[in-house]
């Protein structure tokens, strides 16, 4: 710097001398002048890091195909995010900043973990485009989307491409085996049928409730094929990331430790699903299975810990979070037990996402010194 910034040695020699005016050098901002080291990118990058155990489990279960699905979806999401920000007329520096803030990576990883291992590449690209476009940027980008972008894309794909979205494979025998080979092998072993997820089997059982003999046969098959330990470790079929409760909970531990999520949403979500399915089981154990299968057998853990807890699309008040979690749990259970889809986590979260502004509005806390919160 050419000019002296402040009086230093000079001033000490001549104490009464006024300091040089250097106002252009100084920051003049509104208070406070201190901020937490936490930042939006730090939070976002931590969340996808917390999903890495689930990604690893997916590769362990479904081989290199899983790696390709996850990698391609993440790349596509980040790419579309950048394109869409630019299409909205923002500067290149903002394009770079947004693409690197970590939020598109989360959407990519979550979407991939919600897809079957055998997803075709073009479906991944469509899914990524829907997530970033319809799920996020039509609303104005980060922080403005009412619905979880990954779930918007998943439901879009489920409705548009039900065959591809519902073709599951059982875990591969080795990394060398592709899921296509595995699906052929499943067909050979299962009399020409493709592999079914635990919840898919259960829905099959519920559809056959009029025929007690068939119902009992399917129930017996479920109990034999999906022991609780396999459900917990993830050695069952399903979308990439939903199967291993263990890997998901490991990642969730990081989020709890970093105080990015609290117990309010995941616990009430899981507990409500368990409670409702548990009541159904207690009332009619011949038709309904025990709640443990519901907690571990589908996408509940992934949804409750990683998707319902998305900050942007969940309530900000503690009470609101509890209501939100309970609502998600209730809708999930109702769809699984009485709806036509075997799984209800995605729909439940999306429906509750829509209610978030209302929940936030009616659950604001008491102000300091207020005896009762005035009607909203």
């Amino acid at each position: 710097m050419a000019e002296s910034t402040t009086p230093t040695a000079d001033a000490a020699a001549a104490p009464a001398k006024a300091p040089e005016p250097v106002s252009h050098e100084l920051l003049v901002t509104s208070s406070p002048h201190f901020a937490t080291p936490e930042s939006v990118p730090r939070i976002m990058h931590t969340v996808w890091l917390a999903l890495l155990p689930a990604c690893a489990a997916a590769v362990w279960l479904f081989g290199f195909d899983a790696l390709i699905v996850i990698g391609l979806t993440v790349l596509a999401c980040v790419g579309f995010e950048a394109l869409l920000v630019r299409a909205r007329g923002r500067s290149w520096s903002e394009v770079r900043r947004t693409a690197l803030d970590g939020s598109a990576i989360i959407t990519g990883v979550l979407l991939a973990l919600n897809l079957p291992a055998a997803s075709p590449w073009w479906m991944l690209l469509i899914g990524a485009f829907v997530a970033m476009g319809l799920g996020k940027h039509v609303f104005g980008g980060l922080g403005h989307n009412p619905f979880n972008p990954a779930l918007v894309a998943r439901v879009f794909l489920l409705i548009s491409f039900p065959t591809q979205m519902l073709t599951w494979s059982s875990p591969v025998d080795s990394f060398a085996q592709s899921t296509a080979e595995r699906i052929e092998q499943d067909k050979a072993e299962l009399d020409g049928q493709t592999y079914a997820t635990p919840l898919g089997k259960l829905k099959d059982a519920l559809r056959n409730r009029a025929d007690p003999a068939k119902l009992a046969a399917i129930r017996a098959e479920v109990a034999e094929r999906y022991p609780a330990l396999d459900l917990f470790l993830g050695r069952t079929g399903g979308s990439l990331g939903e199967t291993s409760a263990l890997a998901l909970l490991l990642g969730a531990a990081l989020l709890f430790w970093r105080r990015i999520i609290t117990w309010h949403i995941p616990l009430t979500f899981v507990a409500t699903t368990a409670l409702v399915t548990g009541i159904a089981w207690a009332v009619n154990p011949d038709v309904y299975v025990n709640p443990l299968v519901h907690v571990l057998g589908g996408g509940l853990i992934l949804g409750a810990f990683f998707m319902a807890t998305d900050m942007v699309t969940s309530p900000v008040t503690r009470l609101g979070m509890v209501i939100f979690g309970a609502g998600c749990g209730l809708i999930t259970a109702v769809i699984r037990l009485w709806g036509s889809y075997p799984e209800g986590v995605s729909f439940a979260i999306l429906i509750m996402n829509a209610l978030v502004p209302l929940i936030d509005r009616y659950t604001r806390g008491r102000k300091f010194g207020e005896t009762r919160r005035a009607a909203a």
Binding site: T5, T8, A16, K17, V28, T29, S30, P32, T36, T317
Partner: protein, 439 residues
């Protein structure tokens, strides 16, 4: 167990280690002082001197205008040079009296700088003495002390709380004052209690100042009805409403004052000034403040005359470093960032901070991701992110809740998106007030 308020709050780095062990030093008499007439919340004083008038230290140079106003006194002896507009730490230029010191520091008649006796048999003389001395709240808000000490007849005050929390990071002036002048503060506390006629008094100190707690306990040993309360180090422990809750468990309702729940809160610095006003007949012409931050070469706790130009203080503290990026009058949470001008110290200047590049580092603002941390941090139970949105969109009529904001800065401190929430809330408050006035 340290007591604390029930909701919200944050714990920023304390940064008090820079000055907390440094004894108070007295700044050499400045060659000139610039004394603003507006030094309290309320009406500014009216200057009673004109250029070329000779004044003595402690002589009244500004008369209060109305009840919510305080007199202003010369802080050095010498000759009035100018009565004019000068730049001040309040931001705008305001009316000041500039005095050139004669270096003799001759005090007005009646001041007994060595005095220490207080006649508690005559408490009626206390309030006039405090009013004449121009006392204001020295924690930063500068509310006229005599107004707080004279609650309306229908309000019953039963508790006096002395605020020694000093929850702002960096600041250690109150801390040092309690350690070095506990006896004077204790007497000041008794003077204030006598004026209010209360029998229950507390001193609230954060638990990061054990030596201040010990000193105050020692000074107050044997005094009836006084309790030194250790409060948790949690910002904003020293905010009036929060400190009242920490100590008495009472909550001041929205829009009401502490006196409505029977409490009056005074800063420890104010208690010290009350002691000096009564025992020494000494008006408020100097105060203790903290000069700190990593861009000042020698951080210090300083006793400084009101009106001392910033340049004198900088020079006495070894000058600033080349890394200076931000100058703050007050603490880092609620203080005011200023351009580098030679503004004077006023009665409510609790600290002057010089931040280097790292301390003043700013990070880009992001969109709100609705993480809810501002709700957790808000001690007033507000929803800062929503209020910020409303202000951003100009929906000022919906900002009634913002009026409860005390601008403590906890929400913005906790915000990972670095939104300028306090700025938005200030804007919202002033626009809401304007709409109310219009009807």
């Amino acid at each position: 167990m340290a007591r604390t308020f029930k909701r919200g709050g944050v714990h920023p780095p304390e940064e008090k280690q820079l000055t907390e062990r440094k004894p108070i030093e007295t700044l050499p008499l400045p060659k000139r002082v610039v004394i603003p007439m507006a030094q309290c919340l309320g009406a500014p004083a009216e200057p009673t001197v004109k250029p070329k008038d000779a004044v003595k230290t402690g002589q009244r140079i500004g008369e209060p205008k109305g009840f919510v106003s305080t007199p202003v006194h010369a802080s050095v002896s010498g000759v009035v040079k100018k009565v004019d507009l000068f730049p001040t730490a309040a931001g705008a230029r305001s009316l000041c009296v500039e005095i050139e010191s004669d270096g003799k520091d001759e005090w007005v008649e009646g001041v007994d700088l060595a005095g220490g006796d207080v006649d508690f048999a005559k408490p009626d003389a206390f309030l006039p003495a405090l009013t004449d001395a121009g006392l204001v709240g020295m924690g930063g808000a500068a509310f006229p002390t005599h107004v707080k000490l004279k609650p309306p007849k229908d309000v019953k005050v039963d508790t006096l709380i002395l605020n020694g929390a000093e929850c702002e990071p960096y600041l250690t002036a109150d801390h040092r004052l309690m350690v070095e002048h506990a006896a004077e503060i204790a007497t000041g506390l008794q003077i204030l209690a006598a004026v209010l006629g209360v029998e229950r008094t507390f001193v609230g100190i954060e638990d990061n100042k054990p030596d201040a707690v010990a000193a105050m306990r020692k000074a107050l040993a044997g005094v009836l009805g006084v309790e030194v309360v250790v409060c948790r180090t949690r910002y904003p422990q020293g905010a009036e409403k929060q400190l009242i809750q920490s100590i008495t468990n009472r909550e001041v309702p929205p829009g009401k004052l502490p006196m409505h729940v029977g409490c009056v809160v005074q800063n420890v610095g104010t208690a010290f000034a009350a002691f000096e006003a009564v025992a020494r007949r000494k008006p408020l012409v100097e105060r203790v403040l903290t000069v700190s931050g990593r861009a000042i070469r020698e951080p210090k706790n300083l006793r400084v005359r009101v009106g001392t130009p910033l340049g004198d203080i900088v020079a006495f503290c070894g000058g600033t470093t080349d890394g200076l990026r931000k100058l703050i009058f007050g603490g880092p949470m609620m203080g005011k960032a200023l351009r580098y001008e030679d503004v004077p110290v006023v009665k409510s200047t609790s600290g002057i901070l010089f931040f280097d590049r790292q301390e003043a580092a700013t990070v880009e603002e992001f969109s709100c991701i609705r993480c809810g941390r501002c709700l957790e941090a808000c001690p007033q139970g507000l929803v800062p992110c929503d209020l910020g949105d409303l202000a951003e969109h100009g929906l000022y009529d919906k900002l009634a809740d913002a009026m409860d904001c005390v601008e403590c800065g906890s929400c913005q401190y906790a915000c990972p998106a670095r939104r300028l929430l306090v700025h938005l809330l200030r804007l919202g408050k002033s626009e809401f007030r304007r709409l109310q006035k219009k009807g």
